[in-house]
């Protein structure tokens, strides 16, 4: 291999604190900025890349062998890839062919995502653990270390940035039981679906796993943009509202906080991840940024009322500080690792929310019953769910074929 060829394939990840990792280019040509985070999930790379919550972030996967089972159209958690860039130790050149529709490298390239492979991702992870989540740049075009570090420093971080506004849908839509986006119903139209009940999902960067889970309960799911005024959302006459996950600093997403303030107390509300954080803010609590967030599929959480541990999928860099919560609100879930507030509820206001991802995708389904809890909160009986207690929505067998 000649030096020139190698150079062409080179890529550099530079961190704001001056640390530089040199590796090979994996995806598209270009330069990407973001906060570098690590995710310890051993599977689900495509779901992670297409999770809108990763907007603004460069994702390092700690499992070294990525792309082993290829990519598939139905593994998308949203319309496109949202992570700013990807960092891996090694991407499979030849995935296991059985269910793969393509290779990771081309997939990234076609979608314009910059990525690097061949670096010591464990060293990077340890660095993040020590230094916290840092601003970084990943480049395949500029290979000058010093210049890149300067660029990383100059880049916009996550704090104070309203990313939800960037990733939310432009128009309301209906999520069909078949797993597609369809035209939103007229607000006055009666709900469709076996339950004849409608939920409105505020899209701050919603994952399809959430929509599938709700649709799997027989609900009609209407997704609305983040800035949708509460009256407009309520005009759909939903039985409940879901405040979705999303990227960035919750304190910098005023429309999300406003939505939470508007719906909590009026209707049963389920908050997930960012939706949980803005619920906390709406109730008067504060949020803090973690040194390095929780990103992975192995996080144990104590479900306090049930006195049981659930292994959860998590992806958050901010947490709700429960000390500011009003009377009547209770912490329902706690991280066993660091005690962080992972869920709260306010029964009098029909509010439940969790910091982790009950829809999994990727990750374990231990907390999937939360969707049933929500449906019960919405006044719907659990009858229908009991008929098929096995396949959780996110892993329904029909989707695998």
């Amino acid at each position: 291999m000649s030096a020139a060829v190698r150079l062409k394939h080179e890529a550099i990840l530079a961190l704001e604190d001056g640390r530089v990792f040199r590796g090979r280019r994996l995806g598209a040509e270009g330069e990407a900025y973001g906060e570098v985070v690590f995710n310890t999930s051993m599977t689900g790379y495509q779901e992670i890349l297409s999770d809108p919550s990763y907007a603004g972030q460069i994702v390092t996967l700690t499992y070294p062998l990525i792309g082993n089972y290829g990519v598939r159209a139905d593994f998308f958690e949203s319309r496109r890839l949202f992570a700013e860039a990807l960092v891996v130790r090694e991407a499979a050149e030849f995935p296991s062919p059985w269910r793969s529709e393509g290779r990771l490298a081309e997939f990234l390239e076609e979608r314009g995502v910059v990525a690097i492979e061949g670096i010591d991702t464990r060293a990077l992870t340890r660095h993040i653990r020590e230094k916290g989540e840092l601003k970084a740049v990943l480049s395949t075009t500029d290979l000058d270390d010093k210049r890149l570090v300067a660029k990383a420093r100059a880049s916009a971080g996550l704090l104070g940035r309203n990313l939800a506004a960037e990733v939310t849908c432009k128009e309301p839509y209906r999520w069909t039981p078949e797993g597609a986006e369809a035209a939103a119903p007229a607000p006055a139209a009666p709900p469709s679906g076996p339950r004849r009940a409608r939920v409105v999902v505020y899209d701050f960067g919603v994952k399809r796993g959430i929509l599938r889970s709700l649709a799997g309960l027989g609900l009609e799911v209407v997704v609305v943009p983040a800035a949708t005024p509460v009256e407009r959302a309520l005009a759909y006459s939903p039985v409940g509202v879901v405040l979705s996950n999303g990227p960035g600093d919750p304190a910098a997403t005023p429309e999300a906080v406003a939505a939470a303030q508007g719906v909590i107390g009026k209707l049963p509300v389920l908050g997930i991840c960012l939706g949980h954080q803005v619920s906390g803010l709406a109730l008067g609590a504060k949020t803090n940024k973690l040194k390095f967030g929780h990103h992975g599929a192995n996080h144990p959480v104590m479900n306090v009322p049930a006195n049981k541990v659930e292994i959860t999928s998590q992806n958050h860099g901010f947490v709700v500080d429960p000390s500011g919560l009003p009377r009547g609100a209770q912490v329902t879930h706690r991280s066993l690792n660091d005690g962080a507030c992972e869920g709260l509820a306010m029964p009098e206001k029909h509010l439940i929310c969790v910091q982790f991802h009950p829809e999994a995708s990727p990750g374990p389904h231990d907390s999937h019953t939360l969707f049933q809890d929500f449906s019960r909160l919405c006044g719907l009986s659990a009858e229908r769910r009991r008929e098929a207690p096995i396949e959780a929505g996110a892993g329904a067998p029909g989707e695998d074929s």
Binding site: Y69, I311, S401
Partner: protein, 1078 residues
């Protein structure tokens, strides 16, 4: 939910001797469990017949019964100890089965013993095929289509229902007898007929054969509050149809998407709940059809297993320890994660490396065994390797196997013309498969194509192809000097060892190393931390890789490094791990930091809290030298891990590494035949006359000179391999055809000492004084490998004077060889003559047995002597005489290898051993037999067939047996002899004389003991058939007159008095006295 305070004393059952399918992983789990339970404040009573285990050391449990694992013994122990609970899930299938029997016979109820860890219902549901199937189906999972048939019609109907291929399994047979894979309807009738006739109950199981499906395993834990975690997923490289124990396996699963993995995880949780595993771990096996994703449940083991040991080592999550704690009431969230210390054990480990396990087989020792791998496990050991990529882990694994050439890589440059043959071979999986597919990929067979006929996922094959491509590239570049630095760097990063690169470039390994170091290419060490670096870990557990950042924390104290023994194999097993672990304990207590290196996931030594720091690495010179460079120990111990580390002594010595113990040159004086002959001669001791021949003619002449029979062996093998007793010129001539001698590989000839008593001695020397720890007298005569013969402490037939001479000879050898540390000497005694057979300046297989028989911490003392202590300082000069008689009996794997003759010889074949202890020899021998699963009868029928020399000495035995009321059965010659001497005896046909013949009688279950001493030379068809029948039907079979004498003594003891059990901790004196008066 904290620990249960209503329990105080807990009984733990071990897994008994090491056998294929149940090896030292259960010592690892049992030891962890004992320590965990005692740590939680419980009193632990342990029963295990295997003396070579760490768990049976007197300080691991409170009361340790080294007694046979039989119902009778367990009932006696329960009666005596009155435990509150029985924990049966840590001793493999053996413990589980015993627990079920104890429960079903009402023993547990009678003594108020609670079964903890798994309920009787759960165990039985997991074990019983039908119940399991129904339960799993109810939980919403699928199982393979199957059913039982008792007749041809039934089978045909079932066959139609199930479809083809299907597998036929005969119920209640051993070694896969009567099972067959049926690919098409036309083959069904034949297979069914064979299966029905092979099954003693005339029943066969027909099951959908999952050809080409992938196999996966999950290690799952559940606590009594229904918290469930998956500790590890394991993907089998080899497809369904090859037992997981015989498959290369990889952790975590590589080719499952998140969706598929979560589906499996959900199923595992449902199964745990359905089978009601309330407090412990289980292993669940799945089959996945890669084409459509269909997922079936194959089996579940509601206990720790070989795979759970592997998973523990692969993740750093101590499954056995946590299982034990769950069984006494803790919940997962209450137990801290030892490794991070900050987070709880209630989580699922995240790996940031790839783990590969590779089995190791022993087919070279069983030439008649069927080499095809199938649904019955055949491997005797395994290694595990950790790397950042699959090729790196695989290559590290291959060099850990220590097989001929495995360190050189496997890509023997075949030509394309070999492809048709390779394709043919690859269709039938044997232990050579990895080599064959390597060769096929190396000559350009596309991975997709290889996958078509091996059913191995193309992902794995592409990964191997990366290696074969690079191998080809390196070969093209020529010499090591010509190799471009970047390629060398890539090669190291991909996992190629120096020996491998040396092979490819025609260089010496040292040259590769020198060039590499000159270029600054060195590995770094990364920690195994359960959490992919998310949390700061205090783990002292490392693997090497070629990356940027080094995490090794070599520490600053006084350091010593112990090299382990690598994969278990016949001849080098758990005994050596025992020595390494004991040494680690002793040296840590003495204030040293102990650095341990080993590659065997089944062992106690690779538990991360045994040493100060654990390096899970191949035991090759390259890998060990890197660790030495990192840790810079004061000394390296090579004499405790068997041949594996001993073989490294030269290279380490040359590299200037400080070796503790006997010097390399002195080791060589013991191992080199010519140099050792000088030593023996100078001491005025005697060796069997011997010769070395490098031509056929020379061999024949020398043999004539030595006089037949002679013992012949090739010079290049160890462990008695290829050793043969040759009785005449004709036999020698044909043997020389098989292994033609040459100047490089001469044949070694020894005068064969017929009828000699063999003796093993274990001694410890500090360089000035020598402690003879024990003299072990073998029961079988010399000619049967020391590892395969039963032996006794103290000697039972040797005179005091001879024992004294043996002591003196051992001490003289120790002094002459300047031994520091352990020494094992094998002698043969014939009449008044004492011969030295060999001297090994290292730990021997018998060290743990001796320690327990004599009641001394021999391996610990050895470690301390190596660190510079004298025997006097250790107070290890005068040791008391043992008060009990201890018998060690080997356990042989013939039931796994139908077709292989069970006759013993100079080549070792046993996989494990048991110990029997009692006040008299007879009972100790009886217990050893019972422990080996061959309980000697106290009534019934004995079959005798004796060679002429043995007839006279056997007369006395036959008379005794008759007096005890046994019915005697004999073939013509023996029958005539016995009847002539007035002993009543029934005559039975030989196999070719008609029916009912002896084999049929054995098969019918009407013979309870076989005494069959063979004719020495080629064993006859009849004898083979008799022994095979005995093995197949589990009838104890004695093949030597000495063994028969011992067996009769054992029978007599068992008839004379009742069974007595005693633990290691009790005052032997007192018990012995008590037993004698009772």
């Amino acid at each position: 939910m904290p620990r249960r305070d209503d329990l105080h004393k807990i009984l733990l059952i071990g897994s008994g001797p090491i056998v294929i399918g149940q090896a030292c992983e259960f010592d690892y789990s049992g030891t962890q469990a004992c320590r965990a339970l005692r740590g939680a404040g419980y009193e632990v009573v342990l029963v295990n017949s295997n003396p070579a285990t760490i768990m049976t050391d007197p300080d691991v449990a409170d009361r340790t019964y080294v007694e046979p694992l039989t119902l009778e013994v367990l009932e006696r122990v329960i009666e005596r100890e009155r435990p509150d609970a029985l924990l049966p899930t840590l001793g493999g299938q053996t413990a589980l089965n015993l627990a079920v029997d104890l429960a079903n016979r009402g023993v547990l109820e009678k003594y108020g013993v609670e079964l903890i860890g798994a309920s009787l219902w759960a165990i039985e549901t997991a074990e019983d095929r039908d119940r399991f199937k129904q339960t799993v189906l109810k939980a919403g999972c699928e199982v393979p289509r199957s059913g039982y048939a008792h007749s041809m019609e039934e089978a045909k109907r079932l066959g139609e229902e199930i479809g083809f291929p299907l597998v036929v399994r005969a119920s209640f047979t051993l070694g896969g007898l009567g099972s067959a894979t049926v690919w098409a309807e036309s083959e069904l009738e034949h297979a069914v007929a064979r299966g029905l006739s092979a099954s003693p109950v005339g029943r066969i199981l027909l099951e959908e054969y999952l050809a080409g499906w992938q196999e996966f395993e999950l290690e799952v834990m559940r606590d009594r509050r229904d918290n469930v975690v998956i500790v590890c997923s394991i993907e089998n490289f080899d497809p369904m149809g090859i037992h997981t124990g015989d498959s290369i396996t990889v952790a975590p699963a590589q080719t499952l998407s998140d969706r598929d993995y979560q589906r499996m995880r959900d199923a595992a949780q449902r199964i745990m709940r359905a089978i009601q595993v309330d407090a412990g771990g289980s292993n669940i096996q799945f089959a996945v059809n890669p084409r459509d994703g269909r997922m079936l449940v194959i089996e579940m083991n509601p206990r720790v297993s070989r795979s759970s040991a592997l998973a523990s080592k692969a993740t750093g999550f101590p499954i056995a320890k946590i299982s034990a704690l769950l069984a006494v009431g803790y919940t997962l969230d209450e137990i801290p994660n030892d490794i991070t210390k900050k987070t709880p054990a209630c989580f699922e480990p995240a790996l940031d490396y790839c783990v590969v396990k590779i089995p190791r087989w022993a087919f070279e020792k069983f030439p008649a065994a069927d080499p095809v791998l199938g649904t019955r496990m055949k491997s005797v050991g395994e290694i595990m390797a950790i790397g950042r990529t699959f090729p790196e882990a695989l290559l590290k694994g291959l060099r850990s196997l220590e097989l001929d050439g495995s360190a050189k890589g496997l890509g023997q440059a075949a030509g394309e013309e070999d492809l048709p043959a390779l394709r043919e071979q690859l269709r039938l999986p044997t232990w050579q498969r990895i080599r064959q597919l390597w060769a096929a990929l190396a000559v350009g067979e596309p991975p997709m194509e290889v996958s078509r006929y091996t059913a191995i996922d193309p992902w794995f094959l592409h990964q191997i192809q990366r290696v074969t491509d690079l191998e080809n590239e390196i070969r093209e570049q020529g010499t090591i000097e010509a190799l471009d630095p970047d390629t060398l760097r890539r090669a190291k990063r991909l996992g190629l060892g120096d020996a491998h690169l040396a092979h490819l470039t025609g260089a010496r390994e040292a040259e590769v190393r020198a060039r590499r170091l000159a270029l600054g290419i060195r590995p770094v060490y990364k920690a195994v931390d359960t959490c992919a670096a998310e949390f700061d870990a205090e783990t002292p557990y490392f693997y090497s890789t070629y990356e940027e950042e080094n995490e090794a924390r070599p520490g600053g104290g006084q350091k010593v490094m112990i090299l382990g023994s690598g994969p278990n194999r016949i001849g080098q097993g758990i005994e050596f791990d025992y020595c390494c672990v004991q040494a680690a304990f002793a040296l840590r207590d003495a204030g040293f930091e102990v650095v341990l290196v080993n590659s065997n996931p089944e062992t106690v030594s690779t538990d991360y809290d045994v040493s100060t720091r654990l390096y899970f690495e191949p035991l090759t010179l390259e890998d060990v030298l890197h660790i030495v460079d990192t840790e810079k120990p004061e000394g390296v111990i090579v004499q405790l891990g068997g041949q594996t580390p001993l073989k490294l002594a030269r290279g380490l010595d040359e590299a200037g590494v400080p070796l503790w113990g006997t010097s390399f040159d002195d080791i060589d004086r013991a191992e080199n035949r010519a140099r050792f002959a000088d030593v023996v001669r100078e001491l005025g001791l005697r060796q069997p006359a011997n010769a070395t021949a490098s031509t056929r003619e020379q061999a024949l002449t020398e043999a004539q000179r030595l006089g037949y029979p002679v013992l012949a062996r090739p010079s290049y093998v160890l462990g008695g391999r290829g050793m043969r007793v040759v009785y005449d010129r004709g036999q020698l001539a044909s043997l020389l055809e098989e292994m033609p001698p040459s100047a490089e590989e001469p044949v070694l000839l020894d005068e064969f000492l017929e009828g000699a008593i063999e003796v093993d001695v274990d001694a410890l020397s500090d360089g000035t004084e020598t402690l003879v720890a024990a003299v072990l007298e073998h029961i079988e005569e010399a000619g049967i490998h020391s590892g395969d013969s039963s032996c006794v402490i103290p000697p039972y037939s040797l005179g005091e004077e001879m024992v004294e001479r043996i002591h003196e000879a051992t001490k003289a050898l120790a002094a002459k060889l300047r031994v520091r540390g352990l020494l094992n000497v094998q002698f043969a005694v014939r009449g008044q003559a004492l011969y030295v057979l060999e001297a090994n300046p290292r730990a021997s297989r018998t060290v743990p047995f001796v320690s327990k028989a004599v009641g001394i911490p021999l391996a610990q003392w050895a470690a301390l002597v190596l660190s510079g202590k004298t025997l006097r300082e250790l107070n290890a000069i005068d040791i008391p005489e043992p008060k009990l008689v201890s018998v060690k009996k080997p356990v042989l794997p013939f039931n796994r290898f139908p077709g292989e003759d069970s006759l013993l010889g100079p080549e070792m074949k046993s996989t494990g051993e048991v110990m029997g202890r009692d006040v008299d020899f007879g009972y100790a021998f009886a217990k050893a037999h019972a422990g080996a699963g061959e309980s000697l009868p106290t009534g019934g029928t004995v079959f005798l067939s004796l060679r002429d020399e043995d007839k006279r000495p056997a007369l006395f035995l036959a008379r005794k047996l008759a007096d005890f009321g046994f019915h005697l059965l004999a073939t013509r010659g023996t029958w005539r002899f016995l009847t002539m001497n007035g002993i009543e005896c029934e005559r039975v046909f030989k196999v070719n004389e008609g029916s009912p013949n002896v084999v049929e009688r054995i098969a019918a279950g009407s013979v309870h003991l076989v005494i069959n001493t063979p004719l020495g030379r080629e064993s006859l068809f009849d004898e083979k058939a008799i022994r095979a029948a005995a093995v197949a039907h589990g009838v104890p079979c004695v093949t030597t007159i000495q063994g028969a004498t011992a067996a009769v003594a054992a029978i007599e003891s068992q008839i004379r008095r009742a069974l007595d059990v005693r633990h290691l901790q009790e005052e032997d004196n007192a018990v012995a006295a008590e037993a004698r008066t009772s």
